[in-house]
């Protein structure tokens, strides 16, 4: 899959992680924007347009602001925004269920290896590109 022009919005409270991940993704060919939490992400979407292929949110930002995440996902009722939640460690089934029920597209575990992280994100983008849009 050609990832040129694929746009990703990263949401994480830690600037160091944001900058490091942004650099890795840019190097791989993605266009990247950053936000520190879900409300900040709404502002980015308003400012930069709605054309992100994927929004990748840190679990903490999600669990601290479930309503803001819900609003982010369902801003347009007939078009769900694709949000992936990144967990720091393997989540339990109840925690996964909780975020999935908000409308999150997928749950992943943060990878130390940049290559592995890129591979996981690529898989998600490919999967959603081939999926039917029903939500």
């Amino acid at each position: 899959m050609n990832i040129a022009n694929k746009r990703i919005l990263l949401i994480d409270g830690r600037e160091d992680w944001l900058s490091r991940t942004e650099a890795i993704l840019r190097q791989a060919g993605y266009e990247v924007s950053k936000a520190h939490d879900c409300k900040d992400a709404q502002a980015v979407l308003q400012r930069e347009g709605n054309s992100f292929d994927l929004i990748v949110a840190n679990q903490l930002q999600v669990e601290r602001a479930k309503d803001a995440l819900y609003d982010l996902i369902w801003a347009e009722p007939d078009r769900r925004r694709r949000v992936v939640v990144l967990f720091s460690t393997e989540p339990t089934l109840p925690r996964m269920r909780e975020v999935f029920k908000l409308g999150v597209y997928d749950c992943l575990v943060k990878q130390d290896e940049p290559e592995r992280m890129l591979e996981l994100l690529r898989e998600v983008i490919e999967k959603q590109a081939s999926a039917k849009v029903t939500s």
Binding site: P94, M96, R97, D106
Partner: protein, 142 residues
């Protein structure tokens, strides 16, 4: 208006329990299936607003995941009449949960070990209302 619900569960006790909670609500026409084959036939025969799907439909067979196969059939049905699916399982895994939510857009993935009747009833009602609204959208497009 009564919503049509299909309960697909091979274990008699659980089937009885789920149906019992729905009967209490008085808002549903309920059909039951205790196997993949029966469920599949019912899905072809009539439209349902909600399908409640157990993953392992042969309880003694650890490898049985016919419920996941039914979710694929339900995807097609959902395109035609808006049917919403809810998974219920005693053997949930992260992979199955991801697949159910991500690939089949299920409304919920309920673990039997953490079953909460009130939450279940609220989830089914929400799913039924969503199915009704989705069906309206489908009819408008035709």
């Amino acid at each position: 208006m009564a919503y049509n619900v299909l309960v697909i569960e091979d274990t008699p006790d659980w089937r009885k329990k789920l149906v019992g909670y729905l009967i209490e609500e008085g808002e549903y026409n309920i059909q039951e299936a205790d196997s993949y084959g029966k469920a599949s036939k019912l899905l072809q025969k009539q439209p349902f607003d909600v399908a409640i799907v157990d993953i392992r439909l042969v309880d003694w067979d650890e490898r049985n995941e016919q419920g996941m196969q039914l979710l694929r059939e339900l995807d097609k049905v959902a395109d035609e009449n808006g049917t919403q699916s809810i998974v219920i399982t005693g053997y949930g895994t992260k992979d199955r949960m991801r697949e159910a939510f991500r690939d089949h857009q299920v409304v919920d993935f309920i673990e039997k070990q953490r079953f909460d009747p009130e939450e279940f009833k609220a989830t089914v009602l929400k799913a039924a209302e969503k199915a009704f609204s989705r069906r309206g959208e489908i009819l408008d497009r035709k």
